[in-house]
């Protein structure tokens, strides 16, 4: 495995040197792989990300490789895991690629997956990975957004969200138990912003939402005026012209890398590899940053989202051990602090 990684990393180094201009061919895998992938002609893609976002990814992939049809199954995180487990147990796992936002849920399933590494494996941050089989295909980052029609004196930091002037249901929050990405944010709040941050923030009496999507929609409609949001959940709305401003607060930007792998039972393993190679390539990651508002787990980001200055804002990755161990107790404490009935 190590050797394989080294060879691949070597190949990638060469590819990066060769890829002088944007038009130059990138390394998406050896010609045999591409040939075999084209012969398979399709792959089945299970994802917990939003279908519409992933449609754009598939479209961009098909610009490169129009011969390979990607069939997608999308389900919310917990339901996707149940489906994968049940299908696998019945010997009917249809997925060629499984893509999930909660690494803690994917870890127990790691035996279902085959060895896989992209050509540029060595360029990825090891702390964004929980297994050499599972890759951070997408990396989402938290930002703070506000409705410019309603907020005249906008917040500038995470700590500002505790100010009484934003009290009385002006702030929208996603509740803690909603999934891996939100869990990352509330860990960040307690570990970086202070043990009493939740208490102070909860004192502003925020509106609680089940996930980022209804929160960002409520922000656009003016139901709430300010909300911490995944950048990729609000950025498309700003791009379309909604009265929204987004910023990355100086205390840090919590990020949540996905865990994505190829099951051992994949019926189209070559197409699956090629798809992941492309997603994890600089081209794929650049596309996701620029068009979808993701970040990347590449050691050196090819580009940053608008308004993200790496000199000012530090990326914050949770310690994975704590990510798993603290979960149950901290979510319960969060629920108590926010008076959220679960």
């Amino acid at each position: 495995m190590q050797n394989k990684l080294k060879t691949m990393a070597g190949a990638l180094g060469l590819a990066v040197v060769l890829a002088a201009g944007p038009a130059a061919a990138q390394n998406f895998g050896p010609p045999e792989l591409i040939e075999a992938a084209k012969k398979e002609g399709k792959l089945v893609y299970y994802t917990a990300n939003f279908a519409e976002v992933e449609q754009q990814v598939i479209k961009a992939f098909n610009k490169r490789f129009p011969e390979i049809k990607v069939e997608m199954v999308r389900a919310p995180g917990g339901q996707l895991i149940t489906r994968v487990k049940t299908e696998a147990a019945a010997g009917k796992l249809a997925a060629d690629v499984v893509d999930h936002s909660d690494r803690a849920l994917m870890l127990p399933l790691v035996d279902l997956f085959q060895d896989y590494a992209p050509p540029n494996a060595a360029d990825y941050r090891p702390d964004a990975m929980i297994s050499p089989k599972l890759w951070p295909r997408a990396t989402l980052v938290w930002s703070i957004a506000y409705n410019t029609e309603l907020v005249k004196n906008p917040p500038k930091t995470w700590m500002d969200l505790t100010k009484p002037e934003y009290g009385n249901k002006q702030i929208g929050q996603v509740f803690a138990a909603s999934g891996g990405t939100t869990w990352t944010r509330i860990m960040f709040e307690r570990q970086v912003l202070g043990e009493d941050y939740w208490k102070k923030q909860a004192a502003t009496n925020p509106v609680l939402y089940p996930s980022g999507a209804p929160t960002s929609d409520s922000l656009v409609r003016g139901e709430v005026s300010i909300a911490p949001l995944l950048y990729n959940a609000i950025y498309p709305k700003q791009k379309e012209g909604a009265p929204i401003k987004i910023f990355f607060a100086p205390e840090g930007a919590p990020v949540n890398p996905y865990a994505t792998g190829i099951p051992k039972t994949a019926a189209h393993p070559n197409a699956a590899k090629l798809f992941l190679n492309w997603c994890l390539s600089e081209e794929g990651q650049t596309f996701m940053i620029k068009e979808l508002g993701n970040l990347t787990s590449l050691k050196t980001a090819p580009v940053y989202p608008e308004g993200f200055d790496p000199k000012v804002v530090k990326v914050w990755l949770p310690n994975f051990d704590q990510y798993v161990k603290l979960h149950a107790q901290w979510v319960e404490e969060w629920n108590k602090t926010y008076n959220y009935r679960q």
């Binding site: 917990g78 696998a88 009917k92 939402y209 996930s211 003016g222 009935r341």
Partner: protein, 588 residues
């Protein structure tokens, strides 16, 4: 088909059945029971098993599970569950009262009076049924949010200080009530249409005024339909997720379904606990169903006898303008406002309104959302799949429901009580959990069922069997035995009698049941979520995707598309049913 039919005839016709005939009778009942066991009992057992363990029966196998009532004790001692249960009963109870009041009034106006434009009113009033609950919730958020709702924006503009707030228990009751009024309407209007008006005439000849007649003759006569409609709308409300999810979330009002959804959506998901909550919901519903059977048993509801009749209208005189005004108000609240909200959402780039004037700022509107959903290849795919599943479900489910309804209500076969009970069970199970139960139950079956549209159709047939059987039964219960007896005396067999007497007379009910089944199948989300695969994506799943992606505009655009499609198809079905009921009337 011939064998069971012949056997049926024998069972009904002569008490002295010979050996072969009674064997065939037993075979018919057994095959129905076997089918119900596969469709209902087996998945529910999987659910019960799930509730009694902490494992996934497919993943961990049947050998290793640890039986315990831990999930039940967790659930029963949780104060939040108790509160969610209380909220559920308050909301569904209040909602049912409103739905029955509106639905019954309305079916009387449409079927029994000479109110102007009633055909149009009748057609338009069914529109809310086509909108999935999630969409209904979204539409009412746009209208009735305390901060940003259009109604409140309008109040502000007029200078009124009054504000409505739908993020409350009364708000939820109101939306549930108006949303399910068409459901009650469907039940009661087909019963009213099939009712012999001579009984009303008799009442009027005896000097009773129309209102007295209504309460002392008409409503008591269609009591089975009213009770079935009341019970079913209450039970269906128990299982609705979309409306309380959208309207209850901002003020943290939980009901059992939203609680169950949370359990399945947490990381890690707690399906076994969710199954336990679902079983509690089933117990509540089971009690209601038994209560209904007690009330209805031993009473005769025959209103269709051998005499020819033509449904008649009561001449309301000047009062017909009042009923028209009522109908118009109903349409405004139930159809026009929510549809308008959806249209605005579908064609407006963003749903932010600075004031009422900005609603009419045409620069804020565009075809972007429509264009983008039509651009998505999944859209066309899902429409095709949904219609196919809908048709399979309506035909198969309709046929099965007729077989079950006939066996329960028109024969004396042993075992029909069990059939009745089994076919009513699925009503109690919320869709999200039953989806997992079907997945657990059917994924392991040999053959390629999993991954096809058929598994979706099977799940829908099973899940909506109570709705279909109940809709059909009210029509079947109204047909007097003498009509069938006349046919037998003329030497016709059971099959011929069913085809030429029962089916034509019950056809408004059959068509209503199949239409309902079609609509429910296309709307159904909970069980689809687990059973669809990459090439069997259906509209409801795609709609949830749009909603979960935070795209109210696209959600609205896609649901408008879905409503148009359903409206068109239902129009055709309605036209067919009118033809059929005319044939029925002529033949009788």
């Amino acid at each position: 088909m011939r064998d069971p039919a012949t056997q049926l005839q024998s069972a009904v016709l002569s008490p002295r059945t010979d050996r072969l005939r009674s064997l065939l009778a037993a075979a018919w009942v057994l095959s129905l029971l076997a089918l119900l066991a596969f469709l209902v009992v087996y998945p529910l057992l999987m659910l019960l098993l799930g509730a009694l363990t902490d494992t996934n029966p497919v993943v961990d196998g049947f050998g290793v599970f640890r039986l315990s009532i831990h999930n039940f004790t967790t659930v029963l001692t949780n104060a939040n569950v108790a509160e969610a249960l209380a909220n559920t009963l308050i909301i569904c109870g209040g909602g049912t009262v409103i739905a029955v009041a509106i639905g019954l009034t309305f079916s009387w106006i449409v079927v029994r009076t000479n109110t102007p434009c009633k055909r149009f009113v009748a057609a338009a009033s069914m529109l809310p049924l086509f909108a999935p609950p999630l969409v209904a919730g979204v539409a009412w958020v746009i209208l009735g949010s305390p901060k940003t709702g259009l109604i409140n924006t309008a109040f502000k503009w007029i200078g009124l200080d009054f504000r409505i707030d739908l993020y409350t228990l009364p708000g939820l009751i109101f939306v549930f009530g108006i949303y399910y009024a068409p459901y009650v309407y469907m039940f009661t209007s087909s019963a009213l249409r099939n009712m012999d008006p001579s009984l009303e005439e008799a009442s009027e000849v005896a000097g009773a005024n129309p209102i007295t007649t209504l309460f002392s003759v008409t409503f008591p006569l269609i009591m089975p339909a009213i009770i079935s409609g009341t019970l079913l709308s209450f039970v269906v409300m128990l299982g609705i997720y979309g409306i309380p999810a959208v309207l209850g979330a901002p003020s943290d009002i939980n009901v059992l379904t939203t609680y169950i959804f949370k359990l399945t959506n947490w990381s890690p998901p707690l399906y076994n606990t969710a199954a336990a909550v679902a079983i509690i919901l089933m117990v509540v519903t089971g009690a209601l169903v038994i209560a209904q059977q007690r009330v209805l048993s031993g009473r005769s509801f025959t209103t269709v006898a051998g005499k020819a009749f033509r449904p008649r209208s009561i001449d309301l005189g000047g009062w017909r303008w009042l009923t028209l005004a009522l109908a118009a108000l109903y349409l405004l609240v139930v159809v026009v406002l929510p549809t308008l909200a959806l249209i605005i959402a579908a064609f407006r780039k963003f749903l932010f309104f600075r004031d009422l004037a900005s609603v009419f700022d045409m620069r804020a509107y565009s075809l972007d959302h429509m264009r983008s959903i039509l651009d998505n290849p999944l859209t066309i795919n899902s429409i095709y799949n949904s219609v196919e599943v809908g048709i399979i479900t309506a035909l198969a489910g309709g046929a099965l429901a007729f077989a079950i309804g006939y066996t329960i209500h028109r024969t004396q076969l042993a075992g029909r009580r069990s059939i009745d009970l089994l076919s009513t069970l699925p009503v109690a199970v919320p869709g999200l959990v039953v989806g997992v139960a079907y997945l657990w139950a059917w994924i392991g079956l040999p053959g390629g069922l999993y991954g096809t549209l058929w598994i979706l159709a099977l799940a829908f047939v099973a899940r909506f069997m109570p709705d279909t059987v109940k809709t059909l039964s009210t029509s079947l219960m109204q047909i007097h035995r003498e009509l069938e007896e006349a046919s037998w005396i003329c030497g016709k067999g059971t099959l011929t009698t069913i085809r030429s007497v029962v089916l034509p007379l019950a056809s408004p009910g059959v068509i209503a049941a199949m239409t309902l089944l079609f609509v429910l199948a296309i709307r159904e989300l909970g069980s689809s979520l687990f059973l669809y695969t990459s090439n069997t994506m259906v509209m409801s799943v795609l709609l949830l995707d749009y909603y979960e992606g935070g795209n109210i505009g696209k959600t609205a655009a896609f649901s408008l598309l879905q409503m148009l499609l359903l409206g068109g198809l239902i129009g055709v079905a309605n036209w067919l049913s009118r033809g059929a009921s005319q044939i029925g009337t002529t033949r009788s």
